[in-house]
Structures are given as structure tokens and as C-alpha cells.
Amino acid sequence: MSSEFDLIVIGAGPGGYIAAERAGGAGQKVLLIEKEEMGGECTNWGCIPTKSLLAGAKHYVHARESERFGVTVSGAKYDLKTAMAWKQETIETLRAGIAFLMKKNKVEVVKGSAVLNPDRSVSVNGKVYSAGNIIIASGSSAAVPPIPGADGKNVLTNRGILSIEALPKKLAVIGGGVIGVEFASYFSAVGVEVTVIEMMDEILPLMDGEFARAMRKSLKGISFVTSAKVTKITQKGVDYEKGGKTESAEADLVLMSVGRRPNLEGFTDAGLDISRMGIKVDEKMQTNLPGVFAVGDVTGTSLLAHSASRMGEVAVNTILGREDRMRYHAIPWAVYTLPEAAGCGLTEKEAAEKGIPVKTATVQMRANGRFLAEHGKREPGMCKVLVHAEKNTLLGVHIMGATASEIIPVAAAMIEAELRSEEIREIIFPHPAVAEVLRDAVWEIE
């Protein structure tokens, strides 16, 4: 059977479109299949629209809270319709950009739902395609647990809440992970009363423990209820059990953000090895079927857009015969709340669980020149570093405070390069820059 394509990529999110772009750029004949919009969840219902809305929310906050800088604004208003139009324009510009990239790299794009057949061909819209290799990058969807009332009209996931036409008065967010806390921060900033209900004893599981606590305190306008199990959702709000007692949070709108489940529809009959988390892959993103790869959220591992992109690159490199492997130990994450936070590498708890001896140091951002000049001494912010106690290699960096997400790639590069504290001390940072907190924290290590 002669293959029509060198590579078929299923899903045009950050895992799929990057894989298609890289493979096309390397001269492969690529077919990209997408059932919804170019850019996937990230561009259309995730990373990008939330950043667009949060940008407006930040301006709104600054307009009200800039008197200490000598700026007084009267009559500051937040108009959701205009903010949504801004969000939409951002999305559409990016979508067009991705479409252009596909054209530039001679990637053929087909719209439709793909099915992987047992003979490893792919069916879309009644047509059958075949290729030397296949990359599944179908992503994930918001999980909706079977809680009574979860199917009500007042319950939305990340998708629905990005197209509301009016702000709610009171919002209840079920799930205190990155998605829930980011939405909570946005709605709180534009004047909505927000309650976040989390089942675990702390929010933001990616974060080092003390940072998650500090973050909870810094997100002032939001009520956090932890160690609480939601029992029922009604038109009036959310009922939950905490410490044996049933309580309720009033809300006219409920956001369900308890987790994600892999999009496996169309891939379950081809003999793929699938676990509860998603499609099983090795460090080269290969599934159990020869020539079939899976990348991104559908693998159930490291559910982040940038992880998906890198996985896509690893799959393409493997297909092209280039040595590559997916490493998970230096993947940065960021949460774009007010204040924002980011991290990379091990938390202190993870290091203890793995039996890795560490030295740590934490510095406060108010000691940083640029941070102090732009945010003042009351604004929360800190940076913590973890270093191997014997080898002195940098193992983890955790930052809370403005521009954290723009600093963290530096930490990722240092961890990937396995730099030790003595080498990091030789790297020059611009002054003043908030990023200097990282260098200062490394100097604090004994």
C-alpha cells in the first residue's frame, strides 16, 4: 500500500500544529486534521483568550489603584462586550497566523473528525487517508463529574464561560487548579464576588506548598474553601461538605474546572494501549503501535500547551531519525493571576519524596529595585530556589509576583543545562530587572 502522506497529524492545537509545522519544514508531506478551530483549546478556549481578558482586568485594576503613583482616574468602567471583542480579535489573528504557517510549510489541512482504523489508516469525512506515520494530538476536554445539578444551565466549563454576555454577580469555581484560579482572579478583578471550592487541602498543586498558601492570601478578593467536597449544584449556588458539615456558596454562575480528560473518541478501536490517564507513550512519544505517536494532553502527562509542542517536536524528530527524547524535569508552568506565579523543576515536597537532599533559599521581591519601583513594598512577591545539597545543581525555582512567567524560562534553561550555583553566580542579569531575584536567591544558598 503506497502512502499518500508521510505524516498525518490529528489535532491542530499547540501539539499538533507545531508537529505539522516542523515536519512540513523538514520536507515531509503532511496532512493536518482538525475538527474545530486552528490552534485548538489553547488558542480558542484556553491560554490565549484568558490572557486577553486578564489584560483588560489588569488595566481596570490599575485605573482604580494608581493614586499612589500620582494617577487618579474617575469613572473607570469595565465593559465585558468590548473586552470580549478584544479577546476575539486576538484569537482570530492567531488562528490566521497558524493557517499561514501551515501554508508556508506546505501542510494540507482538512476539517473533520478523524478516526484511526485498525489498519492504521485514518478516516475523515468518509475519506480514508494513509501515511508512514501518524501523530495523535487530540487534546483534552473539561471533565464534568457526576454531581447532581452539574448538567444545569448555570454550570459552565472553560469554553462556555468565555462567551458569556453579562458578568455574574457571584461566581462559584469548583476546582482550585490553574484554570480555576486564573478565572477566579479575572472575575474577582472585574468586580465579581468569587468563591473557589477545592477538594484538596491546598490550591495550585504544581506550586511549592508555602507559595500556594501565600498565593491564596494574595488573591484578596477571592474566598477560598479547601478540603471541601461538592455535593450538589442548584440554581442558588453550590452545596459542599467540609469537616462533616454541609455548607453552601451562593452563586448565579458556576465554573467547573476540576480537571481534564483525554479526547479519545475515534482512537479506541485501533489497538492502542490506553490507560486511565490517556494514550500510553514512551520517551519518544511512540505508542504501542508502530508508526503511531501521541503528544500533548491526550497522553495524560504534563497537560500544558508548551509540553504538547515539545512532545510534537520529539515525535517529529523521532520520525525524521533524529535523536531526541522528552524530558519532564524542567518544564516551566505559569499561572497568570494577579499576582502571577510560575515555577520550574522540583518542589521541596517532591524532592523529599524522591529522597533528594536539597538546600533552599527564599528572597522577597520588595528587596528588588525594579519590583519596588513599579509595585511598592506591600505588593506580594518572592522567589525560592532549590539546589542539590551535594552537587549544588539547580533543581527547582518558584516565583510569585509580577513578571514571574517571563523569568521562569531562565530557570528552565539553567535546570536543563544542569548548572550549579557557582556557575549561575557568574551569569549577568540586567539591572534593574525583576529577574534578578533568581540570581539573588542563588547567592543566598550556602
Binding site: E323, R327, K391, T393, E416, A417, E418, R420, E422
Partner: protein, 446 residues
């Protein structure tokens, strides 16, 4: 009075062990029960503990030495005690006398080359003792953090010259932490696990893994330990027995269906880990009882048939082939056989198998099916009279009611010792195994 540390006797079949790594240096304080060194038998690795508290006064052997069991390998006592009377006699003692003399010039040069870090120069001692190292090579090695130990010299008389050191320097980048560890004596793989194949300190810890040889280089591997044992056994087997291999295959549909059923079984049943190989082990353990002529050993003047089945199975490890034995396999359920095979296989891979578990087999199974082998000639594990090779599953045309259909078949390659077993009884045994595999669910009822 100082205390002797003896090379322990590991199991009844071990005559000598190789010292893999000294954990304590001469002059180090040691406690009772503390690990002094790691040793390798021909089948597994062990740690040797100190029988007394005190100072490690003398190490009588180098890493890599093959030492007979119950020989004195080191002495523990009070600082300054004379332990020369404890030194084991013969060749090892002579070598000892030479070592200090060889160390002298190395010390001298260490002082000359002040730029060189002390660790590589100290490591150079043992290389010096063997063939000689040019001063320029030593300087380069110190600068680049290349470990001279284990380098093959290309200079006159096998002398290590600068070219050898440069060739040994990894072509990929090396993290500072890894370079420091290499300088301290650890060896690096050709390619690491970091960014772009960068060698990280963690790659050095795992340097026991197989290393690729760079093109144009040769590598000498001493034949010892497991490799030596395999070499002797295989050669002796082919020299001293009359091997006859016959090939057949069995309908694998039931095996595959049962395997799928095990995988899908509720977790608490603990069947998910049952492999095709476990199923073959199970069937053979039952069929052997009906063919005692196959569950036997051939000695010079007698054939010994066994009433119970001690089933050996081949395990591919980094150190070489190992054959752990499942005792009384005929009495174990499929689940128990699977669990025991897993336990033994894991111990072999981790190098901590009890040598006694590698003896006493009455029949052996070797499986190359996962590697796509279609048929082969297994070599008898003499004095056993039979070994069954398991091949991959391939489609085979079979005449069905409605014409030819393709049915998955698992290949079987049985080698018998024709001195003990004739062709026909051997073939009948093979046929019985094939039949039971094809009717696996019925075989399970036995």
C-alpha cells in the same frame, strides 16, 4: 589485633567474585555492618560489610580483581597496626608490592602540573601502573575531566597519549556537575540524557548501562562474570551434547484472547501482568509431567528423570544471559507462575538475585518472540535434555470451512539432547505443548 574482611561465599555454586567498587578508602573510619565494597559473582552483585569497627587499614585488591571466596580482601583495625601478615599470598601480593612504586611518579607529576585538579591525577595511578601515560596526556585529561582509567593507549607499548584522551572526550556537551564527577573517576556515556544529548551528572551514575563505541574506536571487554559463565556453558553444551532442534507452531488465538482478558480484568484480580511467556511457562510445566523423558538430565552413565518441574527461563540482563528457576512450577497457578517469573526476572535485572535461585532447573524456556524471531536453535542448558524456544506470533494460512483463512500462530523451537531423547518422543512433546497452547482455556482447567 586487626580484623580480616573476607570475600564472602555467595550461595553454594560460587567460587570467586570480582570487586566492582570500593566504597571505603584506606584510612577511612568504618562501622560494623557498613558497606566496604561491592562485588560481583558470576551471577549477581552483592555488598560486603565490615565485620568490625575501626580504620580500613589496607585493601589487598583493586577494583576489577577476581578474588576466590573466603580470601582476605581487606583489614580493619586501629590506625598504625601492621597488617602485612594478613596479605593473601601469591600473585595478588606481588602486585601489591609494585603498586606503591608506581604511585610515586604520579605524585611527583601532580605537583608539577599545579593547574591539574587533584582527582584525575590521583586516578591516573592505576593507569600508570599498567602501561604508562604521557605527561601531556595527563595534563589534557586533567583539563578536560577525562578519566584515564579504562582508556586504551595507542602510543608505543600501549602508552596513553594525548590523542587517546581527546578521543575519549565526549562529542556532546557536558554539564559542569557531570564534568566534576568525571574528574573524580566516573565514566561518561557517549551520549547523555540531557538537552541535545548533553551529559548530566545522573548519566554518570547510570554508566553501567551499555555504552556505544564511537566510530573508529575499538573497545576491549574483559571476559568475566556472567559473560565468562555464559561463554563456558554455551561452548560446553554444543561440544558435549547431540542437539537436535525441531520447529512447530501453535494456534495463538486463545492465548491472545486470554491475554486481552487478563489485561482488561478488574485490578483487584491481579491478572493484568500475565504475559504470553507466563502462559507458555504454565502449559510447559503441566505437559512436562506427562513427558518425564523431557524433564530430565543426561549424565555420562545415566539419565535422571525428575518428578517435579523446576522451570528455568532465560532473562536478558545488562550483564548477560541469566536463567532463574521457578521451583515446583507444576504446582503453581498461572497467576503464581506469573508473579514468580516477575520477581525472579526483576532480581536478575537489578543484579541482586540469590545465586541459588539460578540453579536446579530441569527444563528451560527461552523467548525471543518479542524481538520478531521466527525460529531459532536454542542451545541446551546442559545437562538438561530439553529447551523450548518461543518465537513471535505470525499469521499462517489455515484451511477453514470457507477457504483459506489467516490465523495467528506462535512459533515453537524445541532443542533436545538426542543422546537421551529420540526425535519422535521429542516431537510428541512439542505437539502436546502446541495443542495445549491452542486450547489454553482447557489447559487452564488442569
Amino acid at each position: 589485633m586487626a580484623t580480616e574482611i573476607l570475600m564472602p561465599r555467595q550461595g553454594n555454586s560460587v567460587e570467586s567474585c570480582v570487586i566492582l567498587e570500593w566504597r571505603k578508602n584506606e584510612g577511612d573510619q568504618v562501622k560494623t555492618g557498613e558497606i566496604v565494597c561491592e562485588v560481583e559473582t558470576d551471577k549477581a552483585t552483592f555488598e560486603v560489610e565490615s565485620p568490625a569497627e575501626g580504620v580500613l587499614l589496607k585493601r589487598f585488591f583493586e577494583e576489577g580483581d577476581d578474588v576466590p571466596v573466603l580470601t582476605v580482601i581487606a583489614a580493619v583495625g586501629e590506625a598504625g597496626e601492621d597488617v602485612s601478615s594478613m596479605a593473601p599470598g601469591g600473585k595478588a601480593a606481588e602486585e601489591k608490592k609494585e603498586a606503591p612504586a608506581a604511585a610515586e611518579p604520579a605524585k611527583q607529576e601532580k605537583q608539577d602540573a599545579k593547574a591539574a585538579s587533584s582527582a584525575p591525577a590521583a586516578q591516573a595511578v592505576s593507569a600508570d601502573a599498567r602501561a604508562g601515560v604521557s605527561p601531556r596526556a595527563r595534563k589534557t585529561a586533567a583539563d578536560k575531566g577525562v578519566n584515564l582509567d579504562g582508556l586504551t593507549g595507542s602510543g608505543p607499548g600501549g602508552r596513553i597519549i594525548e590523542r587517546d584522551v581527546l578521543a575519549a572526550e565526549p562529542a556532546v556537551s557536558v554539564s559542569p556537575a557531570a564534568r566534576a564527577a568525571m574528574g573524580a573517576g566516573m565514566t561518561a556515556p557517549v551520549r547523555g540524557s540531557g538537552i541535545g544529548g548533553r551529559i548530566l551528572s545522573t548519566d554518570l551514575a547510570a554508566s553501567a548501562a551499555p555504552q556505544a563505541v564511537a566510530s573508529g574506536e575499538t573497545r576491549e571487554i574483559p571476559v568475566k562474570g556472567v559473560r565468562k559463565l555464559v561463554a563456558e556453558r554455551m561452548y560446553a553444551s554444543l561440544q558435549n551434547t547431540a542437539q537436535l532442534t525441531m520447529n512447530s507452531s501453535a494456534d495463538a488465538r486463545e492465548l491472545q484472547a486470554y491475554r486481552a482478558q487478563c489485561k482488561a480484568a478488574p485490578e483487584e484480580m491481579g491478572m493484568a501482568g500475565v504475559t504470553l511467556n507466563d502462559m507458555v511457562l504454565f502449559v510447559v510445566s503441566r505437559v512436562l509431567l506427562r513427558y518425564p523423558c523431557m524433564n530430565a538430565e543426561m549424565h555420562t552413565d545415566k539419565i535422571v528423570e525428575y518428578g517435579s518441574v523446576n522451570l528455568g527461563f532465560a532473562v536478558d540482563t545488562e550483564r548477560g544471559l541469566m536463567v532463574p528457576v521457578i521451583r515446583n512450577a507444576e504446582r503453581l497457578s498461572l497467576k503464581a507462575i506469573s508473579a514468580e517469573a516477575k520477581r525472579l526476572g526483576k532480581a536478575c535485572l537489578e543484579g541482586n538475585i540469590n545465586p541459588d535461585e539460578l540453579t536446579g532447573g530441569t527444563f528451560t524456556i527461552t523467548n525471543l518472540g518479542a524481538l520478531g524471531v521466527e525460529s531459532f536453535t536454542p542451545v541446551l542448558n546442559a545437562p538438561q535434555v530439553g529447551i523450548l524456544g518461543v518465537n513471535g506470533i505470525d499469521l499462517k494460512p489455515v484451511q477453514g470451512k470457507e477457504g483459506v483463512e489467516f490465523v495467528p500462530h506462535i512459533g515453537l523451537s524445541l532443542t533436545i539432547d538426542h543422546r537421551a531423547v529420540d526425535g519422535a518422543p521429542g516431537a510428541r512433546f512439542l505437539q502436546a505443548v502446541a495443542k495445549e497452547l491452542a486450547n489454553f482455556r482447557l489447559a487452564l482447567a488442569e
